[in-house]
Amino acid sequence: MSLSTPDGTVPPEIPGTILGRLPIQAQIKRLWQSETGLGPILIGLAALILYFYIRSSVFLSAGNITNLFIQATIFILLGMAEIWLLLMGDIDLSIGYSAGIGGAIAVILTSTTHHWPFWVALPLGVLACVGISTAWGLLCVYLRLPSFIVTLAGQIGLLGVLLYLIDSQGNTGGALPVQERVLYDLVNADLTPFVTWVVILAAIGVLSLMILRGDQRRRSAGLEAKPTWLTITKIVLLVGAGIWLILVFNTDRSHFTVLEGMPVAIPIDLGVLALATFILTKTRAGRYVYAIGGNVEAARRAGINVNRYRILAFTMSGAITGIAGLLYVSRLGGISTGIEGGQYVLYAVAAAVIGGTSLFGGRGKMIHAVIGGLVIATIDNGMALINVSAAGLYMVTALVLLAAVIVDSVARRGASTIV
């Protein structure tokens, strides 16, 4: 059957119906490829969770999920620290040991020998990491050194500094325990179930309001906004996930005593995520970080002080590294000379890349570290549950990292021809 009328024109109602379907398909395609870019990796994460659940029903128990989130915390925070640098095409190989030093300073200053108050000692630990990262930034920017080499030297040197710090506390057997309540509680304390409800619902409320208000402002300005069904789906998913998390966290996880509520570490993660995302997406500084990563010459010609914003990114990375260091010593109950700082860096970069951040600069989001960190923690946790050896664990982690990069690059190739 021909669509054309005898005189050769196309009847108006037919192209209307054919073309009418296209926007939805295009929307879905766009959603898959560019909306958040998280589609493939979220499906991968769901597949991993399903696999581990089938192999071991303990995997989805409240206790294990809570544990998994705490395991992911360090990967997530270090991943976020790394993304600030990856966005500009830089990297910091030293953040593992830098975090260790920040944590060690907090442990030492709050120890029973020094008795510094936590509200001085903890910020000082973070500040040490800020100083270290900023120093790398200054070296890279003003002496035009590649960050890879500067921070490789840093990785080696900081391990030395860390060993020196631990040794300086006398004969401790290479480990210093956390002896201060607040530092210990950063990871090990839980909010009460009521506060858990309040915190998570408040977070969802604020986020939903921001999404709705953003859409509404665009509409009232006469601009194209996201379709309503998409916004509503997003909010419904958000509320669903939030309530599921509340129920999981508020289940009693202990057989001997009552252990319930959201671990304090999680709101700390969320706070860092929210603040860093705000800076990256809503302020000039964030915009300039992306611009520098995309085309440094264009940024310079646009009048951006490239040096200042590169150093700022190093500083931000250092601050997040410091917080990661505090949570690290809190979770382990101390700091030891056996810290695997080099491996944490690699996991941090892996978390960022699995989430969808590019190693070549210009592309990435803070949320990528969260997704990537959860993927790595899921593998870590799940493989242990089904009794896979360390050998298998490393090999599977490597495969997931490769798969993430492959999926990402294939999706991107498709996207460049579609959009």
Binding site: E297, A298, V419
Partner: protein, 278 residues
């Protein structure tokens, strides 16, 4: 094609009422930009010598010449990248010394280089406002920037982009050129210098860019267009300036030239069919 040049000196095409300046140059008050005896040396090498050039507002001045004729050095002197070794540059009749592209851009001189200086990972709005984002209490005002971008692209008749939230990396060469030009216009530039804007473009995209050049001129913006393509030049330019071995050998209204005389000027520095200038 014109056979009878109205005057022997190209700079007497407009009657000026402006008071002569003490530089001894005539009529600079009527021009947006005037160069007098501008020269640039790199050590012993003289890249350009004694260049006198007048650029009127609202007109397209095509700057042509062979490779190495000094076109690029000349525009770099105008756009503040190189300080001239000698000579004077007048902007709206007032002598100026730009020591950086930034100072030139504050005067209202924008240069669109061949590489366009766009960030592929940012969208059109973000590129347009890069370096001078609108904010409300330190938060980027995306809505205002997007509305203004749409408005400007509509004004400039750039209609081929689907969405101003498209990444610049996904645009065609002509569209990218249009965005780079629109960005220059948005910054209240009164003179836009374009370096080979159509060199890498296909036929239809070249036509788009040339249309855009005419749109700029219609808005009262002066355009200096560097091009190797004489077809393009004769399509859009109001005035022609020809460089040969570092000297500006001829400049004047396009009607004083034809393709043959332009080619002669480019290759030999003189033409028997065109007015002798300078």
């Amino acid at each position: 094609m014109s056979s009878a040049p109205e005057s022997s000196s190209s700079s007497v095409t407009d009657v000026s009422h402006a008071a002569p300046s003490d530089s001894g140059a005539e009529d600079i008050g009527d021009y947006l930009l005037s160069l007098r005896e501008v020269a640039k040396n790199f050590g012993p090498v003289q890249a350009i010598r004694r260049v006198d050039l007048d650029v009127p507002p609202g007109q397209v001045t095509a700057l042509i010449g062979d490779n190495g004729a000094g076109k690029s050095v000349l525009i770099k002197c105008i756009s503040g990248i190189y300080p001239p070794s000698a000579g004077q540059i007048f902007w709206k009749g007032r002598e100026v010394h730009s020591h950086s592209p930034r100072e030139a851009s504050e005067l209202g001189i924008a240069t669109v280089y061949q590489d366009l200086a766009l960030c592929d990972n940012l969208d059109i709005v973000q590129n347009m406002y890069l370096g001078r984002e609108e904010t409300r209490i330190a938060v980027l005002d995306e809505i205002k920037m997007e509305l203004d971008t749409k408005e400007l692209l509509k004004d400039l008749a750039v209609s081929t982009v689907k969405s101003v939230r498209q990444l610049v990396g996904s645009l065609s060469g002509g569209q990218r050129q249009a965005i780079a030009v629109a960005r220059a216009v948005m910054r209240d530039s009164q003179l836009v210098i374009m370096d080979e804007p159509t060199a890498a473009l296909g036929v239809s995209q070249t036509a788009q860019v040339l249309d855009l050049v005419r749109t700029l001129a219609a808005r009262g913006i002066a355009v200096i267009l560097i091009s190797h393509n004489l077809n393009d030049v004769f399509k859009v330019a109001d005035r022609l300036a020809v460089m040969h071995l570092g000297e500006l050998v001829s400049h004047g209204p396009i009607s004083n030239y034809d393709t043959v005389s332009a080619v002669e000027l480019i290759t030999t520095g003189q033409s028997h069919r065109s007015p002798t200038s300078v």
